[in-house]
């Protein structure tokens, strides 16, 4: 490929062709994806820098302002203890987004590596990795979470403070246990792709297995990985709220978006705003990340002409 670029007559006028630059060019063509990327950055900035702008405490109780709708004092309204929902969402958003993004990162990285290894290996390693995947798929998450909290809470609390400790635990358990479907998907793609003509050709030309994987197979297997990764963001945020539903998960005074939605559900016919804002925030984050994923998918798909 490098040779091709050099031989190109246009090489002198245009900047050197690189696959990444090309991908970026293609990505920019996908308008929704660009808008979504901006949106996600705004969202992250809001939860990171929000507390410096919106200086209302997340647990100030005000019984005179219970279940109030949006107003100037409380732009997103208040909950049943009169706590400010905007402040709580800014705070909880950090956790929700971190859980979601961590889940995505773990799923994509761990899942791809394990899936690729299992897909390429024809011997014991492949079996062992699939065994590991099966094991993790069958581990019941809730007892595991209880066990991990029990084993590591005090240690993590000592190291990172009470909130930091439980934060790391939840991110690890919810985010860390979502790589198995990706591994299976990648392996299945690999089983098929490694027999395809173009890989055959590369192999015949003496490409090392690593080169075969990185240059030829992986780019063609990324479609489902991106989809799985972007769906995992939503799945992890929701999984965290489901833990609240079952009485586990974050301490209830840590208002993650999922937790807010859970707390709001009984008040749906009294104070709809309470559910609307966190629900909306989850939706916006999910949509943004999925469009970014779509954009990346299209940009990486060499056959698609944009």
């Amino acid at each position: 490929m490098a040779g091709l670029t050099l031989a190109s007559p246009s090489a002198e006028r245009r900047p050197a062709w690189s696959p990444w630059r090309e991908t970026w060019r293609r990505y920019r063509r996908h308008k929704l994806a660009v808008v979504s990327a901006v949106l996600l950055i705004v969202l992250i900035a809001a939860v990171v820098f929000g507390p410096f702008v919106w200086r209302v405490s997340i647990n100030d109780i005000d019984f005179n302002a219970r279940l109030e709708g949006p107003s100037l004092a409380h732009p997103f309204g208040t909950d049943d203890l009169g706590q400010d929902i905007l402040a709580r969402m800014i705070y909880g958003g950090r956790i929700s987004l971190a859980v979601g993004l961590a889940a995505m990162a773990v799923a994509v990285i761990v899942g791809t590596v394990i899936g690729a290894l299992a897909g390429m290996s024809r011997g014991a390693l492949g079996h062992a990795l699939m065994w590991l995947t099966d094991l993790f798929l069958s581990l019941p998450q809730l007892p595991l979470l209880l066990l991990l909290i029990y084993l590591f809470r005090d240690g993590l609390k000592a190291a990172f403070g009470p909130e930091g400790g439980i934060f790391i635990l939840i991110v690890l358990v919810i985010g860390g246990l979502r790589w198995m479907p990706v591994a299976r998907l990648v392996r299945a793609q690999f089983l098929s792709l490694r027999e395809k003509d173009f890989v055959e050709a590369a192999r015949a030309l003496g490409a090392s297995p690593l080169r075969q994987v990185v240059r030829h197979i992986l780019p063609n297997a990324l479609g489902p990985v991106i989809i799985a990764g972007t769906i995992d963001v939503a799945a992890a945020i929701i999984a965290e709220s489901t833990l609240s539903f079952l009485g586990l998960g974050f301490p209830p005074d840590v208002p993650t978006w999922g937790r807010l939605l859970y707390d709001a559900k009984d008040f749906l016919d009294i104070a709809a705003h309470w559910a609307l804002f966190p629900g909306g925030a989850i939706f916006v984050a999910v949509v943004a990340i999925n469009f970014i994923g779509d954009g990346m998918r299209d940009a990486l798909d060499a056959r698609r002409v944009i």
Binding site: I61, F63, D80, L146, G247, P252
Partner: protein, 596 residues
């Protein structure tokens, strides 16, 4: 003066020289309420008045189905194996005790002809035995007669450790003997002022000897009738799916006239409290739902124009914050919160008093518990004759601040008070549960304003309340500075409720943290009051001892009562459930009917 006069009056009633009504009127003249007067009579050993249950139906059956919704379904139907209220409730449809508690805490006869009393010779004057006269003609659902042998068998069954009955605590220290086919006698080792424990209410349900005799001891789990109850109750067993549904149908041979009213009965399990409330109050799909732990705002909203309403019954359940008197952060002989240590902050009475001033019970009642809670300063909140009038509570951040200032706790640079280098930082633990976390938040905010830093911790209920010795997060290990939960009162008597804070029950590593005095509070005066009360047969003196014990706890701020909790159910408008705060919801199921 009142004391002696009272006693002589009780004697007069016992001897029949004064009638009950006159007694009650005299008592009211003394400034006592009518229920209190009956209570005093009751404990004084007089046959309890049948509360005139306004049971209206004039024939058996015809009421159609009764559909109950429990958000945790019964998982087993052997009352001796019940691991929770839900199981006791399910088996109570089919099995019956000798007597049950009514709403004001009186005993009502179920399988007995009359309630034992000194007057009818049922109670021994020395308080060491009770004789129960069984109702003649009662039949098991399979047609066999119910006799004294069945009662004696249940005692043998439950007290055998190999049976693994959870009711063993009730039966292991008594002796039960058959006097004749319809008479049994319960013998106590020591004078027992509160004799109505064995064979009464939920722990007293009687299994048929002829079906369980072969399954006493190690084989108890194999009894086929564990899943197919054959009892004496108003309903006969139809179907059972653990955790899902229990079904029964009218027992045509039931031993009480005109009862039961309903033709079939079912308890459906699962789901959550709010949707259970919806199914009863909003859609009327079900007739009654149990244990409505739901914010009052939500319930009020549902009740507007609904098909049902919430119903409340008062008992003695108390939600409270316990203070740790030992140091949870220092390990002594491999044990934290060891009785050999003193809590660095909470051993100062000023800190404890300040904390009590910082618990805004009014706000909690108004915004969390609503109609299901009453504010109180007492740990002991019922029955009425045991409730202290000497205590009071107050919420005042100013007074708390002043108290801490006077005791030398000065605000440091970070806004947290300190004294001798010790910062006022507390770890506040409880089980994971909506209202509890809100209470935590309210307490934390008040503490912050007074310069006390509070860290909140919540533990999943199944872990918090487990007896797992290796587990550091249980309420009995108490590796925190303060903790909050609820203690139910399962009978209208304070003996078990108050005994737990006796110094001999301090939870230690040695007793595998099985002691129930988890604040690890030791007070000789309190111990003496409890010891005296337990040996005291005289009801008035006994009540005085318990009031004194409660007051000592209040003076010493051992616990901070958060809320005296009422039982809440939801019922459709036409249903007339008979409920009591002193027992389970289904304990008087034979008296339920529907107004047409």
């Amino acid at each position: 003066m009142l004391d002696t006069e009272l006693r002589s009056m009780i004697d007069e009633v016992k001897d029949g020289r004064m009638d009950r009504r006159a007694f009650v009127q005299r008592m009211i003249a003394f400034g006592l309420t009518a229920p209190m007067a009956t209570q005093i009579l009751a404990i004084g050993g007089v046959a309890m008045a049948q509360s005139p249950a306004p049971y209206k139906p004039t024939k058996r059956g015809g009421g159609g189905p009764l559909k109950l919704l429990w958000w945790q379904g019964p998982t087993l139907l052997n009352p001796h194996f019940a691991t929770g209220t839900k199981d006791q409730d399910g088996s109570r449809l089919f099995y019956e005790p000798l007597a049950s508690w009514d709403s004001s805490g009186n005993l009502c006869p179920i399988l007995v002809a009359e309630i034992p009393s000194i007057q009818n010779g049922g109670l021994a004057a020395d308080g060491k035995s009770v004789t129960w006269k069984l109702k003649p003609g009662v039949k098991w659902h399979d047609g066999k007669p119910f006799t004294a042998d069945d009662v004696v068998f249940n005692w043998e069954y439950a007290r055998d450790p190999a049976t693994s009955a959870l009711t063993i605590g009730v039966y292991q220290d008594i002796t039960v003997e058959k006097v004749d086919d319809l008479t049994v006698r319960v013998l106590f080792k020591n004078p027992t002022p509160f004799w109505a424990d064995a064979f009464v209410a939920v722990v007293g349900c009687i299994l048929p000897k002829h079906l369980f005799a072969d399954y006493k001891g190690a084989k108890s789990r194999e009894a086929p009738n564990n899943l197919k109850p054959v009892g004496t109750g108003p309903y006969k067993f139809v179907e059972f799916k653990p955790g899902d549904v229990v079904r029964g149908e009218l027992n045509p041979d039931y031993h009480m006239p005109n009862r039961p009213y309903f033709d079939t009965i079912e308890i459906k399990g699962g789901g959550d409290a709010v949707s259970a409330a919806r199914a009863v109050i909003q859609t009327g799909e079900y007739d009654y739902a149990w244990n409505m732990q739901v914010e009052d705002d939500v319930l009020l909203r549902l009740e507007k124009g609904g098909k049902g309403k919430t119903v409340y019954s008062t008992g003695g359940d108390i939600e409270f914050i316990a203070l740790n008197f030992t140091d949870p952060n220092t390990e002594v002989d491999g044990e934290r919160s060891s009785i050999k240590t003193k809590h660095p902050l909470l051993s100062d009475p000023a800190v404890r008093k300040a904390l009590a001033l910082l618990v805004d019970r009014d706000a909690m009642q108004k915004h969390i518990y609503g109609r299901a809670g009453r504010t109180t300063a007492n740990f002991l909140n019922g029955p009425d004759q045991f409730v202290s009038k000497n205590t009071k509570w107050e919420f005042s951040i100013e007074k708390a601040t002043q108290l801490l200032e006077e005791a030398g706790w000065k605000v440091g640079a970070d806004g947290i008070r300190e004294k001798d280098g010790k910062k006022l930082k507390l770890l506040y633990q409880t089980s994971t549960n909506g209202p509890r976390q809100k209470t935590q938040a309210i307490v934390k905010q008040a503490c912050q304003k007074a310069g006390i830093d509070v860290e909140l911790k919540s533990v999943v209920a199944s872990v918090f309340f487990s007896s797992d010795v290796a587990n550091p997060d249980t309420y009995s290990k108490f590796y925190a500075d303060i903790e909050m939960f609820q203690i139910p009162m399962t009978q209208p008597d304070p003996a078990q409720h108050m005994r737990r804070f006796h110094s001999r029950f301090v939870a230690t590593k040695e007793n595998k943290w099985q002691g129930r005095n988890f604040p690890r509070w030791v007070n000789k005066e309190f111990d003496a009051a409890i010891d005296a009360a337990e040996a005291e047969v005289d009801p008035i003196k006994r009540a005085a001892f318990y009031i004194k014990a409660n007051d000592i706890m209040w003076q010493d701020t051992v616990v901070i009562p958060v809320m005296h909790r009422l039982k809440v159910g939801a019922a459709t408008n036409s249903l007339r459930p008979v409920l009591s705060g002193w027992t389970n919801d289904t304990d008087n199921i034979q008296d339920w009917y529907r107004e047409t």
